[in-house]
Subunit: 276 residues, 3 copies
Amino acid sequence: MSVITLTSDFGIKDYSVAAVKGRLLQDLPAVTIVDISHNITPFNIPETAYIVKAAYPNFPKKTLHIIGVDGEKNNLHKHVVIQAKNHYFIGADNGIFSLLFPKEAIEEIIDIHHPKSQHSSFPTLDVFVDVAAEIVNGTPLANLGEPINQVKEWVQNTPNSAHHNELLGHIVYIDHLGNVITDISKSLFEKFNDKPSFEISISNTKITKIHENYSALVDYSLPSAQRQKPEKAIAIFNSLGLLESALYKGIPNHGGSAASLLGLSVGDSITISFNN
Amino acid sequence: MSVITLTSDFGIKDYSVAAVKGRLLQDLPAVTIVDISHNITPFNIPETAYIVKAAYPNFPKKTLHIIGVDGEKNNLHKHVVIQAKNHYFIGADNGIFSLLFPKEAIEEIIDIHHPKSQHSSFPTLDVFVDVAAEIVNGTPLANLGEPINQVKEWVQNTPNSAHHNELLGHIVYIDHLGNVITDISKSLFEKFNDKPSFEISISNTKITKIHENYSALVDYSLPSAQRQKPEKAIAIFNSLGLLESALYKGIPNHGGSAASLLGLSVGDSITISFNN
Amino acid sequence: MSVITLTSDFGIKDYSVAAVKGRLLQDLPAVTIVDISHNITPFNIPETAYIVKAAYPNFPKKTLHIIGVDGEKNNLHKHVVIQAKNHYFIGADNGIFSLLFPKEAIEEIIDIHHPKSQHSSFPTLDVFVDVAAEIVNGTPLANLGEPINQVKEWVQNTPNSAHHNELLGHIVYIDHLGNVITDISKSLFEKFNDKPSFEISISNTKITKIHENYSALVDYSLPSAQRQKPEKAIAIFNSLGLLESALYKGIPNHGGSAASLLGLSVGDSITISFNN
């Protein structure tokens, strides 16, 4: 049994996602197809990378991930298949692969030679499905085109930890609940473990404690009426190991989320000051 | 073959749903995964209960239902697996199970002992997937933790039929088409079968007839121009056996639905007066 | 292995889609279920037809397509199963089948006899699932009801090519990216191949070239700063062979799409004038 995932900005109303699945089932009747997301902001490569990077490691080894965002081949973007960390990725080399993997993690890159690559306005259907079927059926990657040495680089802000007492990060994603996810990882934060205290500045809010999970904010030894109300922004390291600011049970459009309460957008800064 | 369903408030853009599916496929390559809904209003337990209660009986016996709404373990909520009506349910004991089943229908309740339960901010991925895999692989429920006697109670309004000539109900859900679903069941209504007539009061509208289905409103013996137009609220007992008020072919945002026309929200009252 | 697709206006929050899938899995444990779309505009038959017509040919032969839009049986609409182009379609005969197929392509039409057809308010669950299971299990179509000769006609605008120098078409769909799709096919357009030039009028815009795909708009031989910016409407023949107007990398709600820039809706006209 093979697993193929789909990620795109096609939305879920149009015929596009079903067309791709139908074609995959024609070629590979026993395949298991899983949607990662079809609601990527159109053409947004960093967002695609964030979501795919968070989702793919949960899938079985040898899973094949089709990426249908900004997928047209043109003079700047080849169609490629990548092997990395024992998974396969098929898409346009538009910069996403440099966001998914450090150079040394990429084991193989093939510039796909496919008759429909150059002229298709729907390459996910016309090209990527064929390539996926070839791989599942055992064709070696090298037979699908020409090996190349590197993927296109996407230049992105990264956390700045150059100062001894300060970490400067950025908001990389705002999730369904309006939680604000940053690029500050737990391991980066722990490099400052010798500092006795810290203060996170995000928008006009200061946070001086990182909780274990959302419920940890609440002190259940207090009577119900005195417990933490869901209007204060807290910080946790989330399931991905990234610093996240959330409202306890905040609901977007019903009293606000961390993103709306703090007026934050992707790309905004977050600063952590450490005290000696 | 085993079937596992997923219900959550994760939305369908984020990586969360795919992460859970990927992990399930790692542990259980032959499993069939079906989404019940990922668009539950965040943290809304009664809404989750309404949707799961309507969906689950359609699935094969032994189906395993993972409920990822308000799923964190804390001092008030254990992680539990429930066996009831020959289905399994995994989630936090946040009150939902008392809304799904009367006490006598619950055959077994296990307080799950899992090393990640206490500290995870993503228990659906970190805990519930493992528990599901154990059950599918044949581990007896009793081996997953400690049996307990009762689930947490969620106090909810129920229909009041104490008066001889009146039934008082509530709106429990407003669906995709803006149809208004109440907690008055057909069997409750039929207890007043000896009454010759009735009047349903919902918002400022009176309804004196219950139709069989939406089309039944239209008298096809009339010429097309004289037929019922889709602007009047009607009542039917829906597929779940619950009293529902609908507009014939009403479309939300395009001329209105029953909910918008009548200005109704979940929790609002509906009264049926019976005449002697 | 059998494949069943689902198309509906149920939305993806409610219990309805899951109920149908659960019931299918009870009857057909080995079936593969694929969603075409559940976000059809409620009761919109032409939109349903556009999406199903674009999606179904990608599926394996013998795939069974359940259409849950305006599905109630009434004095005007029978419940039918259609065989056409080696696929099966189950739904209400509300006009959709005349939009999907020319008369001569329909091989068999059966007026379904099912005990629940007349009274159900959820025929997709109560009737269509049963019929699908019968077909997958090998029951001949003729055993499911009574053969009839024709489907209900839906009268729709079609492109007008009566003039020697002009093609008059209509907008049939606006997709997730706000691209505007017309009913002018490439083959119809090519009947005017003897004309040296043409001008497409759509809203207040004139387009005199049809590109191969979206990227083809950009001249990569120019320095980056001089390249085409994504604010101009272009025309392509899309993956379905239909004339489509798009903005290069236009994003709805973020700077506009072709539909919003040109102020267009489904049903609006598009004219192509050919010059001698």
